[in-house]
Each structure stands twice: as C-alpha cells, then as structure tokens.
C-alpha cells in the first residue's frame, strides 16, 4: 500500500512536469502579446521595452521555462505580469471561494443522485423511473448559466429570499456565506447530480442482479438491509469514480457560474489570465488544477480498496 502510494506520487511528479511543459508551450504559441494587452494601444516604446525586460519575455523560451521551473520547485510560482503580485497569493485568495462552492455543489449533487438513482433502479420502467430519467435528462440539457439566471430572477428577484450573488468568507459571516452559497451550489449541483443519477441507477441495477443479492433475498434478509449492505455498497465504486472526477472539475472553477453569481473563484481567474495573457498566473492555475486532479484520483483509487476489500494495491 505504502509502496503503491509512493509509486503513484512519483508518477504524478512526471505528469506535472509534462503538464507544465505543455502549458508553457501552448500559451507561448497562442498569438497575443501580454505587454501589449496590458498597455493597450497607446504607449511609449521605452515603457514597452522596460516591461518586456521585467517580465523576462525577452529571454529565449527554454531559458524562461527553466527559470520558471527552478522557482516553481521551490514553491515560488513567480509574479503576475499584470499586477506584480505573487501568483501563489493570487491563487490562495481565490481558493476558499472555489473550495466552498465545489464541496457544496458535490453535496447537492449526491443528495439528488443517490436517492433519485436508487429509487429509479428499484422501480425500473415505472412512473418513478420515468420521472427520474426525464428529470436527470433535463438537468443535463438545460444550460447552467440560464438556470442560474432563472434562480436569480425567481429567488432573489421575485421572492427576495436570497441575495443575487457575491461571496462572503465563512469566517467573516457564516450565515451570509451560506445564503450566498445556496443558489450557485444548487445550480451546479443539479447539473452534476443529473449526470451522477444515471450512474447510480445503472450501478444499482447491476448490483441488484448479482447472485449474492439474490441469495441474500432468498435467505429472507430484510429488503432495506439488502439494499444498504449488498446493493449500495457495491454501487458505490462507480459513484466514487464519477463523483471524484466531478469534484476535481469543480475545484478547477466553473467560469460561467462564477460570472453569473459574482463568485471570485479560480475559473474567473484563469479566464482573465488567458485574456490578459498573464502567463505566470495561467501557468500557476493550470498547475494547481493538475495537482487537484492527481490528488483526487489518488484518493479515489485508495477509496476503492477501502470500499471493496477484494481490491488490493501492491
């Protein structure tokens, strides 16, 4: 187990190095000059030259990459071209907002997916199943930004129950934090939950058909216990896989929802970094997203063994 984790971490380091080279190459290939974007149309050549030198963009690409890498392994991701602020600081400022939203959205998604998927698997081809299928199809199909705006118009506008958006830190004001979290979390949770409902339904159906479930029923075990101990437990593995991917995806920020709900998350940061060609910030953000994916995947893999003792890592 320990050996497995060590090996996975070593692999992760290699993946990160690859990601960093790829991102570095791609952002430099895309047209657009960061200094020109910062200065607009009107500037002195001397100003341009000074900013170019300060940013290091006048150096050869390979030199730029290695000097970035050299600092990055020491935990220094450089400073934003645009503001001169350390990239780690810029990212850390956004992390609580993104983490709050991702975790809350996954909870909403699970609250939707597990009951709905299970019920519809238990009553296949009934009205209940039909309703669950239509609902999850709708949740996947409706554009999330539209749903977000509708929620704002209804719950903030007409009913006036919730604020239209904005973010307040959990430690600053827990009540406001929660009130502002509800609409964006539900919007994303409905979409993620709809996707996960389909997985829950099919894995529960599959588990129901297995021999040990039939045996448990045959020996007279209570239906609820069969469901809890034999069906859901087995259905959890695919759910953990899909849920993990969804969580990692949400931790990378959800640009459109962040814009609609004025949420100062990582998605908007990455989008602005692309628009402004702020290479250090973009590079830092993408690196963080890669780390999140690797860590979440590792945790998911370790959870498999926990959920199913037959799986062992060596």
């Amino acid at each position: 187990m320990t050996r497995y984790v060590v090996r996975r971490l070593a692999q992760s380091a290699a993946v990160l190095a690859g990601v960093s080279i790829l991102v570095f190459a791609v952002i430099h290939l895309v047209p657009g000059d960061p200094i020109r974007v910062a200065l607009g149309t009107r500037f002195d050549q001397a100003t341009y030259d000074a900013l170019l030198e300060r940013s290091g963009l006048d150096q050869p690409l390979v030199t730029q990459y290695f000097s970035w890498l050299g600092s990055a392994v020491r935990g220094d991701l450089g400073v934003s071209f645009r503001t001169g602020q350390p990239v780690t600081e810029v990212i850390l400022e956004r992390l609580p907002a993104t983490a709050s939203l991702a975790v809350a959205a996954i909870l909403v998604a699970l609250l939707i997916a597990v009951p709905l998927g299970t019920v519809s698997a238990l009553r296949p081809r009934t009205v209940v199943d039909w309703f669950a299928t239509v609902a999850s199809q709708a949740g996947i199909s409706v554009p999330d930004f539209w749903m977000g705006i509708m929620f704002i118009l209804i719950f903030a506008g007409t009913l006036g129950w919730l604020p239209t958006g904005g973010y307040v830190g959990l430690t600053d004001d827990p009540v406001e934090w929660a009130r502002r979290l509800i609409m964006p979390a539900v919007t994303i949770g409905v979409v993620s939950g709809s996707i996960m409902t389909r997985f829950v339904r099919s894995s529960v159906l599959e588990a129901l058909g297995q021999e040990h479930v039939q045996a448990a029923r045959a020996k007279g075990m209570r239906a609820r216990d069969v469901l809890t101990w034999h069906v859901l437990r087995n259905a959890l593995i695919p759910l953990v896989t899909v849920g993990g991917i969804q969580l990692a995806y949400l931790l990378s920020g959800v640009v459109v929802i962040e814009i609609v709900f004025r949420w100062p998350g990582l998605g908007q940061l990455a989008l602005q970094a692309v628009q402004q060609r702020d290479y250090p910030v973009l590079q830092g953000a993408v690196l963080l997203f890669a780390v999140v994916f690797l860590v979440v995947n590792l945790v998911v893999d370790l959870l498999y063994a926990r959920l199913d003792p037959r799986i062992a890592y060596t």
């Binding site: 020109r36 506008g157 602005q272």
Partner: protein, 516 residues
C-alpha cells in the same frame, strides 16, 4: 480605458482624455445644495453606497493600470492637479491656480493649502514632483503624455514648475484628464503595495481590495469637505441580468452594466432610474492604406459612402448613440459639424470603379469578439454587399486583435477611442504620418503641418480653427471612417440623488444621497 461593457479589456488607454465641452447628462438628479469643491455639506446623510461595476479591475496602481474598471474606483480615492468638469473644462483640484509663461514653455502651478493624505500627512510640492516623475518613468503607462516635459521642479512647498521643450496647450489634459495622473505622497511606491493599497487625497479612503470587491470609507478631512455617504462598496457585477436584478432588489444602488437593448424597457420600470448622457467616445472603421486597393483614396471614400450609419447605430446601440462623421459630438467645444458622406451605394460603386476595385472585392473587417463591433460589422457586411464589396468578418479576442493591429496584419478594423477631451489626444498620433497609433498607415503632409501647428497654438479659437481644417481633410481622405458616438448609460435605485452621468464616464460618488 476601454469600456468593459463592450468587453474590451484593452485599454486603450487611449483613452483618456479629456475634455470636450459636451452637454451634461439628461435624467440626472444632481444635489443642488452642495456645489462640488466649495463647501462641505453640513450633515452627512450617511449610509454605504453599493455600486455594481461591469468588470473587475486588474490592479489599483493609477500610473500603471489602463483598465476602466480600476479608474471607476480610483476616481473616488485620488486627486489630480487639475480635473475636467462634466463639460470638459479644466478646473482647479490640487492646484489652485496656474500660469503660463509668454513663450508657453513654463507652467507654474500654485498648490492648494491644507490638503492632507489619507494617512494624515500633509500634501506639498514634493509629492507632486515625486508623482509626476513616477508617471514619466519607464514602467508607467502614461509616460507618453509627458513627451514634451523637460523638467519638473518645486521652487517652494506650494509651487510646482513644469518646463517644456515645446509649447503644449493641452498640458492640462495631459496631467489631469483622468486619474491615471493621480498625485501620490512622496515615496508611496516604496511604502505601499500600490496594486492593492492606496494613500490619496481624494474623498474616500481605500479600505480593502480583493477579487470580491473594493471597500471605501468617507475621508472626513477631504479638502472639498467630507462626502455625504459613509462609504462606497464596489462589487463586480459582470453579468447584466444579475446586475439589474440586484439593482431592483436594492442589493446594489448603482450600476453601469446596462445593455443598450434593455434601455427602453428600463425607462418604464418603476424600480430603476436610468441616466443617459451623450459620450465623447467614438467608434470608427480604419482601412489599411498600406494595402491595395485601400491605398487609393477613392476606394476608401467608396466604402465611406457605402455605410449606413443609422442602421449600424441601431444594431449596436439600439439608438442610444449619435451618428457622426467626425470624431466627437458637434455640440462639444472641439466638435465640428461636417458630414460629406450620405449613405449611397451607387456613388460608392462609382468611386470604387474609378479606383479600379472590381465587384466581388473582399474586405476583412477585424473586430474584437463580444463587442458591439461584431454587430456593426454585420450591418457593414450587408451595406457593402450592395456596393459590390464582400465583407469577411474576422472576430478576434482582444490580445490577438492588438497583435494584428500592431503588425498591420488586417484589411480593416473597427475600434473606439474613449473619453476624448483634447483633440491632440484624438487626432495627432492617429493621423500624422509617423504617428504611434496610425496603424492604418495614413500620410498627408498637409494634415501633418496643420496638426503640428495646432499642437503648439496657444490661442484656443485659433487652435480650434486649425483642428477643424485638419478634421475635414482626415474625413475627406477617409483616414478614419467615423461612425458614431455612443451614449453613456447607467442606472440606479429611485430616490438616489447627487449623482451625475458624465460624458467622460468618470464616476464620482462623494455627493450622493441614498434614498430613505
């Protein structure tokens, strides 16, 4: 400062500008009791104004940023030596008065007394010298404004002398057109992280700035008197439906995120008050004169006759704009009423024929994605098809767009200059042969001579006559094909008073009184 409402992150820093005697805003409710800059209101009304601005500032160093969103905040935090009033006339601010030497090469500014910075330190001439020198520094985005400045000296605590290499009648615009030329205390760049902190002399102090917003508090010791509100909170409301809902529910009091297509509906809405003022911004089309066939003036004039400005304005601004064939509105001081191009596809075709432009000639119009340029280009495509020109619309995001513009890699582009106060700012570098923003490659020696002469003419009326003459030639040669001046549209909650929509898009909240 490009308006982000149109999604131009660019700053065309261009922008900035200045002055033009435009008419004031309509639908504006200005608190008549408190004349700005003269007396403090006796009893501050209090409360915190919450303003939803349509994009997020990149940073708050006034000498570095070029983003309009940053200046919406900075406008309330810093002061400049002089500042334009809503009509564009320069008024005293931190400088109480100024004199120009007979040769026009020395400007002497007498500074206001009793001004303090937010940290309590006293303002004097050393702060002005420090700030102006910082603006001329290499990493300053406003350095180009100081091209004719030879030296900046402080003979005593209350006096600052600016010595020039050439007469610069637009100096006031260059040092006070907008808050890019803010005065900071001496040593501010070493003492503070100016990207997120501020120490100015303006009506509000900056308490915090983050990705969630910015918080300002009233500065009781402001030289013009304490603001009426206790503070201002800026939120970044980039999605307009959400911004307008927030306004209706009273969550925010003011926003500039009002899409032109919503204006008519909002005007009948009891929960929202809309303020509209004609702006001193302009949108234009520029053809690449380094390329055939657009190097031929008849070809360019053909395109100018082939455009239906009314339809373009309707499509982009839903009527919230004024068509114009010169740069700025005719009723502003520098405006010049000159409109030789009526929409006429037949005349367009004749001119194109005489320039040897065949039917079916293609013309790529480069526009920035998500701006009104896209709608405008669609109308131009239909217009010019009638004159036998096949328009290809090329949408680029702003970073790529700027690259192509800089490299001359385009047939034509559509763009805007905003906040045009002094004609030096919106004619010179755009139209002289080696002008730094002359991306279209225009060169007419006569225009150069007129613009050079106007740049140094100290008599305002004589100067205006020179610019009018140059403007006609620029229009006749179709160096730029000017299209329209958009309106400034903002909205606030009913009952809010003491706020005025300005043609230069500066937003000032110190006189605002919130509804009961």
């Amino acid at each position: 400062m490009a308006s982000n409402r149109r999604g131009m992150a660019v700053a065309a820093a261009s922008t900035a500008l200045v002055l033009a005697a435009c008419g004031g805003g309509e639908g504006v409710d200005v608190d008549g009791d408190a004349e700005p800059g003269t007396e403090a209101p006796e009893s501050p009304e209090g409360g915190t104004l919450i303003a939803g601005i349509s994009s997020q500032p990149d940073q708050l160093d006034p000498h570095v940023t070029t983003a309009y969103a940053s200046f919406q905040i900075l406008e309330n935090v810093y002061d400049t030596l002089v500042a334009p009033d809503p009509e564009g006339t320069f008024e005293p601010s931190l400088a109480e008065s100024w004199q120009t030497s007979d040769d026009g090469l020395t400007w002497t500014f007498t500074l206001r007394e009793g001004v303090t910075f937010h940290d309590g330190s006293e303002f004097d001439s050393a702060d002005v010298v420090y700030s102006l020198e910082r603006m001329t520094g290499e990493e300053s985005s406003v350095a180009w404004r100081f091209a004719t400045v030879e030296s900046i000296d402080a003979p005593d605590e209350r006096t600052v002398e600016i010595t020039l290499t050439d007469p610069t009648p637009n100096l006031l615009d260059n040092i006070g057109g907008y808050k890019g030329m803010s005065i900071l205390p001496e040593g501010a760049a070493e003492d503070l992280d100016l990207t997120t902190e501020a120490n100015g002399t303006g009506p509000f102090t900056l308490d915090s700035f983050s990705a969630s917003g910015a918080t300002l508090s009233a500065f009781a010791d402001h030289w013009a008197g304490a603001p009426t509100v206790d503070g201002v909170e800026f939120q970044f409301t980039t999605e307009s439906a959400a911004a307008l809902t927030a306004l209706r529910t009273g969550e925010i009091h003011w926003t500039d995120n009002v899409p032109p297509q919503d204006v008519q509906n909002l005007e009948g809405d009891q929960d929202v008050e809309v303020g509209i003022a004609p702006s001193i911004d302009y949108w234009y089309l520029a053809l690449n004169q380094a390329q055939e066939p657009w190097d031929d003036v008849d070809a360019r004039r053909g395109v100018a006759f082939g455009l239906d400005r009314e339809s373009i304005t309707e499509a982009t601004q839903f009527g919230a704009a004024t068509v114009n064939q010169t740069a700025i509105p005719a009723d502003s001081f520098w405006g010049h009423d000159y409109a030789p191009y009526g929409y006429d596809p037949e005349q367009a075709r004749e001119l194109l024929d005489s320039a040897g432009v065949a039917e079916g000639q293609t013309l790529g119009i480069m526009v920035v994605t998500d701006t009104e340029g896209v709608q405008a280009a669609q109308v131009m495509q239909a217009n010019l098809a009638e004159a036998g020109i096949e328009v290809e619309i090329q949408q680029e995001e702003s970073a790529t767009w700027l690259d192509r513009q800089g490299e001359g890699d385009f047939d034509a582009f559509m763009w805007s200059w905003i906040g045009n106060l002094d004609p030096f700012g919106f004619y010179h570098a755009q139209h002289v042969c080696d002008g730094t923003f002359n991306f279209q490659g225009y060169c007419n020696e006569e225009v150069d001579a007129l613009l050079e002469q106007a740049a140094a003419e100290t008599d305002q009326d004589a100067r205006k006559a020179l610019y009018d003459q140059a403007a006609e030639m620029i229009v006749d040669d179709a160096s730029y094909i000017y299209l329209y001046n958009p309106d400034v549209v903002q909205a606030w909650v009913p009952g809010l008073s003491g706020y005025e929509v300005r043609p230069d898009r500066a937003i000032n909240f110190e006189q605002v009184v919130l509804p009961e």
